[in-house]
Symmetry: C2
Subunit: 254 residues, 2 copies
């Protein structure tokens, strides 16, 4: 539509991000643009400090951390984060388990913050991880508060199983979403990673629109069914606080 050289540049950038470390021809194929153009884009992005040639393997391109620095100040990122950190901190101290803050990004849940458990046995998700919605408690929680349209659209895409326990059947997922809606929190038993169980609750932004979710997660040996309710309710309370801070329940302005 507009400024197509920028479009290809960004597409190249995203391709690099997805294929780290990526070769020229590989990228050219991925983005479906002639090598010469891709190379020019890479050089430009390199000048700007967003990508660089891998030191280990010449000719391979990688993202620099400057890209990370710039992008870290994501909008809903900082707004939600600011509203969430206080209550999340308290939740982490109460439960002593790892808590996550996630926001939706193109069919995935993007982990934007994490507070760690002091336990030696730790689940571990690097910040910036993207989890498939159907395979994470944060995803199901988010979907449970999202508009039907979003849910339909998501369930229409092909869903991959990450573990033998991952639920990929749309009908079953709909049931889980309904259940989550009724109960107030979602439960994911080893659907993301074997041995990990987590409990999620949606966050609402202004106007009551689903804005993200929080979760409590840990080894399945510690997060046992007997604790689901306690943790679920604790997380729900925390989520309510955060949603309130985000203006979910305030009257609409005219």
């Amino acid at each position: 539509m507009s400024t197509q050289s920028v479009v290809t540049a960004i597409r190249v950038l995203e391709a690099v991000s997805d294929n780290q470390p990526a070769g020229l021809s590989e990228l050219s194929r991925e983005v479906d643009v002639p090598k010469a153009t891709v190379l020019r884009m890479l050089r430009t992005l390199a000048e700007l400090g967003w990508v660089a040639q891998s030191e280990a393997q010449a000719g391979k391109w990688v993202l620099t951390n400057h890209a990370f620095a710039v992008a870290s100040r994501g909008s809903s990122g900082s707004v939600i984060r600011d509203a969430a950190m206080g209550p999340l901190n308290a939740l982490q101290l109460d439960t002593t388990e790892t808590v996550h803050l996630a926001v939706p990004d193109r069919g995935y849940m993007l982990i934007i913050e994490r507070l760690d458990t002091p336990h030696v046995l730790r689940a571990f998700l690097p910040l910036g991880s993207r989890l498939p919605m159907h395979a994470s408690s944060t995803g199901i929680a988010y979907l449970s508060a999202a508009e039907d349209e979003i849910v339909d659209e998501y369930l229409a895409t092909p869903l991959e199983a990450l573990t033998p326990q991952t639920v990929v059947d749309p009908a079953q997922l709909r049931a889980m979403i309904a259940e989550t809606r009724a109960r107030g929190y979602s439960i994911n038993e080893q659907g993301l990673s074997t041995g990990i169980t987590s409990i999620g609750v949606p966050l609402l932004g202004p106007g009551g629109v689903a804005a993200g979710s929080i979760s409590i997660s840990g080894p399945s040996s510690r997060i046992v069914p007997a604790k689901y309710q306690e943790y679920g309710e604790a997380a729900a309370g925390t989520a309510r606080e955060i949603s309130q801070a985000l203006g979910a329940f305030s009257a609409k302005r005219y």
Copy 2:
């Protein structure tokens, strides 16, 4: 030089990142490019999902979290992170204080990972924070292992004081760097934030080049001088492990 429309697009993107939420004219001034062009860039970036109009204030532009998602897979990010997480985890458990993993980015230290303390009294740095090198233990640690050229260059830039305790005198900073080099770890007492003390150690990458640093930090009431040596040595040990994993000490290949 090359592909200037991409250059302006990225500059606009960075300007948005720095001025969240930013208005059109404001950005136009910032980047020194006509409004029409800036607007076209913003629209293009919006199409790609990297920026969006703020919902709260129409006309204001903000970064989306998609940008964060793409950029999270920063190169030295993931390589260093992979090498560091195991040892860092152990260090956190040993010390029970918050530990950080930082890499240099244009004169700042960029926090790319954090493992939290279980203590109720917590220091808190969001991931993606950029700390001035002279005001952080990670920065001084990094500089202590960096080439002289880098140190000289950095100290030649104007240094800002973040707290009354921040050291901004180049000569004094050089002394601190030398001291750090001799001792093996850096100490920052409330130079970054009042009430916070931290201890840093550099990480070396392939060829022994400074690649980043790690730190232990917490409230000055807990990180007292009596613990400096213990923590410093613990961190130094951890750093050695990580540096080794990064190939700092392996023979050069031919």
